[in-house]
Amino acid sequence: MLGETGATASVTVLLDRVRSGDPTAPARLFTVVYDKLHEIARGQRRRSPSTDTMNTTALVHEAFLKLFGTGSRDFKDRAHFMAVAATAMRQILIGHARRNIALKRGGGQAPASFEEVEHALQSAAAFERPAADALLALDRALERLQQRSERQSRIVECRFFGGMSIEETAEALDVSPATVKRDWSMAQAWLHREMQHELG
């Protein structure tokens, strides 16, 4: 059996590799983070089935604490970790949206229009159909954005899916906070238009 220390050591090494630019490290760390996010979600539900759930940021922070313990790692580490976790969250949320739609719709019914999405976001706060449709449209638009600017798409992942602050995003992607701010606002405008076109 691997002890907790063994596991911690290996994720620490992986994180160091991410930071030093090892091209294979993010994918490997991703698997670890992805599993950990699931495990936390499951564990919490078992402990307190009826209480409030965690939002993205809380979930990601919890995963970081579980994997690295408290105190030992600095801000930089957390930022790099969160950037990887953001990708995992994207996958989890998109998968959830997809299942949500498959379950509710079972095929046939058209996705919500952009207008319906906007309306739903104003009123309800539940992760129901229009939001799920919007999320899938966002995922596809983000793939197109990646063709144009890898950096902007990563920034959107960190900010939107990872719930990361401007500073954390800047640290993780090794760019200035000003660049993150600029790219984030431009990417939002671009994605907004793409989604509106797609959903009609």
Binding site: G21, P23, D35, I40, L59, I92, L93, L121, A131, Q188
Partner: protein, 724 residues
């Protein structure tokens, strides 16, 4: 309203800069800014359209995010539920060790058993471990049969078949299969998002057919071809799972009830329990192909009974009626695959592959069109002979062959060639050496086998230092092999490609170009031929032609890692590192990445003075070549300021050269890194003589040298025009 994307990646950085300037200004002052930059129509229109919605967009994403973020926890939980239908806590196997596999997580459950992700403790790799549910767990004979069959399937080695590492039994005598773990998703998951682009559907169908063809040649029928049994890896390679085990298991008709997802792919003969042969697999592939093209299954329905009835008695709606842009030939391929009578289907996977791949051919290029009638006939003849060969090989193995056909020596030669011609063998130096052995044996068995001569020529060019002879002698041997291939079959496209390959590295560029173009004309799908053209154009200082060829290569073969790498290289030599890097990053995630990616990525990073990344890029993809002898690493270290380590690598390369290992080119590259241009030029001169000089000479690494008047001599010696 215009719907297309008006701004292409080239202008993106400019747009971002303008965005920053304009969004800082109040709206009434923006006009002046846009005027002062003399913006052209499209860019201005784009900027204005984005600025106009900036506020709305921010508010929108704010709200969307708060809705989504609150459900992150539920999503993670539901994801988990979806991945493992039962909570792993209830699965006692997770956390245990089976044989030398440590079971880490449950990945999914199917009719055949449960799949886990496991760590192979001996070889330290991640595997997928399928613990099978046998029909009668207590029946030792049934279990033995299953194990035997699984072991036969394990012997299959093909790029489109999932690699099986081991077949064994747990302590409780449950059979298990340890197989390669491919990051990616199943075709079933992919299809939930809807139909695929036609070209992708054709590519996937071809890949599945290739995997099936390889199995059928060995007499193995899959029996359960369906999207859930196909993994689409991250680099777009399809892997077929679960060969031949279907019949031993109670798929579908079990206590779990009959699942439409399984029976929808069954052939009429399976439904009616008649004899099943390989044409049954082709039917199932037909259903998958139909679904990839249209997004729906031809025989659907809520009830198993209705589906089964439809499979046997009803005809499907023609796929074209569900998709307007479906080419007619794709529709007819599907019709033929879904013929109720097996005799009316394709006789085998090879005949199907022929139709799938020749369809893309039609009307592409006047030169090809002119060639086509005779070529098509030849290709058909060639493939039919392969098909006959397969039948004969099968018949021979059963000692019942009564077909008059190719000589036994050709069969043996083809078999040896197949063993050598596996992409995986070509990737590493040792693999190439192994393949070389197979090709030589194939020629020894049948000296009239053009394909093997061409393969031998390719390999002799690729293998860096032949045992014994010099590189020049090796190229001479390669040229003889390539010309022999052409003499044996002057219409063999790869024979011409192989001659071009030899001539390119013998710096006979004009002749090489003729051969490559002939290969393309004979068969535009000849492996790697467009990538060779990219090299040729780069070498002869025609970067734009190189980019055009690379884009064509990547478009023709969107799932080829090497084609994407060459596209990145072409972008690099055209000064477009920003466009090359996203491609390269994707390639670097592959396991292993194509070796050539390192030098391309490193040069991109070097352009941006990101030395750490450049050095890591070389390290990240270095196969088994010891790093201390890697000239690219030496170059990047030296330029990145680590002169001492750059010199160490140069010394290693010099010592290797003295021992007759490695060409002068590596030494030249190391000296160029150290900015010792006198030595670099001296060694470049030598490298032309010993034929180790590379098209890299026209890439950014050698930029300083190319600006030096002494480079004219290099050009002259190579016969490259100084123009352009």
């Amino acid at each position: 309203m215009m719907r297309e994307h008006r701004v292409e990646p080239d202008d993106w950085e400019r747009l971002a800069a303008l965005w920053e300037a304009a969004s800082a200004l109040p709206p009434d002052q923006r006009d002046a800014l846009l005027r002062s930059h003399a913006l052209d129509g499209a860019l201005r229109e784009e900027l204005e359209s984005l600025l106009a919605r900036a506020g709305a967009a921010e508010a929108f994403f704010d709200r969307l995010q708060s809705v989504v973020a609150e459900s992150a926890h539920t999503a993670a939980e539901s994801e988990h539920q979806a991945v493992a239908t039962a909570p792993p806590a209830a699965d006692p196997i997770v956390g245990r060790t089976v044989g030398h596999y440590h079971i880490e997580a449950r990945l999914g459950q199917g009719g055949m058993g449960i799949v886990y992700r496991a760590a192979d403790l001996r070889l330290r790799r991640t595997v997928a471990l399928k613990v099978l549910r046998a029909q009668a767990p207590d029946d030792a004979r049934a279990r033995d049969r299953l194990l035997t069959e699984a072991r036969v399937a394990a012997a299959l080695d093909h790029a489109n078949i999932c690699t099986i590492y081991e077949v064994g039994e747990t302590a409780e005598q449950q059979p298990f299969i340890a197989m390669a773990f491919y990051p990616g998703e199943t075709l079933e998951q992919l299809l939930r998002r809807g139909p695929l682009p036609v070209s992708t559907a054709i590519d996937y169908a071809t890949q599945i057919a290739r995997g099936l063809g390889a199995a059928h040649q060995r007499g193995i029928i899959h029996r359960d071809v369906k999207p859930a049994n196909v993994v689409v890896t991250e680099d777009g390679v399809l892997k077929l799972l679960d060969f031949g085990i279907a019949r031993h298991l109670d798929i579908g008709a079990s206590h779990d009830g009959v699942t439409p997802g399984t029976i929808a792919y069954m052939s009429p003969e399976q439904v009616t329990s008649r004899a099943v042969d390989r044409r049954s697999d082709l039917w199932s592939l037909g259903i998958v192909f139909y679904e990839m093209c249209t997004g729906v299954r031809p025989f659907g329905g809520e009830h198993a009974g209705a589906i089964l009835y439809a499979i046997v008695h009803e005809s499907q709606a023609p796929a074209q009626t569900l998709r307007d842009d479906l080419p007619a030939h794709v529709g007819s391929i599907i019709e033929r695959l879904l013929a109720k009578d097996p005799a009316e289907r394709y006789a085998d996977a090879e005949a199907l592959i022929l139709d799938l791949t020749s369809g893309a051919f039609k009307g592409s290029d006047p030169l090809i069109a002119a060639q086509r009638p005779s070529m098509r006939w030849r290709r058909r003849a060639a493939l039919y002979s392969v098909a006959v060969l397969a039948v004969v090989a099968f018949a021979v193995s059963w000692r019942g062959g009564d077909r008059p056909a190719l000589s036994e020596s050709r069969i043996a030669a083809q078999d040896l060639y197949d063993q050598g011609h596996r992409d995986v063998l070509f990737r590493t130096e040792s693999g190439r050496r192994e393949a070389l052995g197979f090709f030589r044996q194939a020629i020894a068995v049948d000296s009239t086998f053009a394909t093997a001569h061409a393969g031998l020529a390719h390999l002799l060019v690729m293998i860096s230092d032949n045992a014994g002879g010099s590189r020049r002698e090796q190229l001479t041997e390669a040229e003889v092999a390539a010309r022999t291939a052409i003499r044996l079959d002057s219409l063999h496209a790869d024979a011409h490609a192989s001659l071009g390959h030899v001539l390119l590295f013998d710096y006979r560029f004009a002749e090489a170009e003729v051969e490559f173009k002939r290969a393309v004309a004979l068969d535009a799908t000849t492996p790697y031929v467009r990538e060779f053209l990219v090299w040729l154009y780069i070498f002869t200082d025609r970067p734009r032609d190189a980019l055009a060829a690379a884009e064509r290569a990547a478009a023709d073969n969107p799932t080829s890692a090497t084609a994407i790498a060459e596209q990145a290289r072409a972008l690099l030599v055209n000064g477009r590192c920003n466009d090359a890097l996203p491609l390269l990053r994707r390639l670097m995630l592959l396991q292993p990445p194509p070796a050539r990616v390192g030098a391309i990525a490193a040069q991109c990073y070097a352009q941006q003075r990101m030395w750490t990344n450049a050095i890591d890029a070389v390290r990240g993809v270095a196969e088994q070549t010891p790093l201390q002898g890697n000239p690219w690493l030496g170059f990047m270290l030296a330029r990145g300021g680590e002169t001492i380590r750059g010199r160490e690598i140069r010394d290693t390369l010099l010592a290797q050269w003295r021992r007759g290992k490695g060409g002068a080119y590596g030494v030249a590259l190391a000296y160029a890194g150290l900015r010792n241009f006198d030595e670099a030029f001296a060694w470049l001169d030598k490298s032309i003589d010993d034929r180790s000089l590379h098209y890299n000479i026209m890439e950014p690494a050698f930029e300083d040298l190319r600006h030096d008047p002494r480079f004219d001599r290099v050009r002259q010696k190579l016969g490259i025009d100084a123009k352009r």
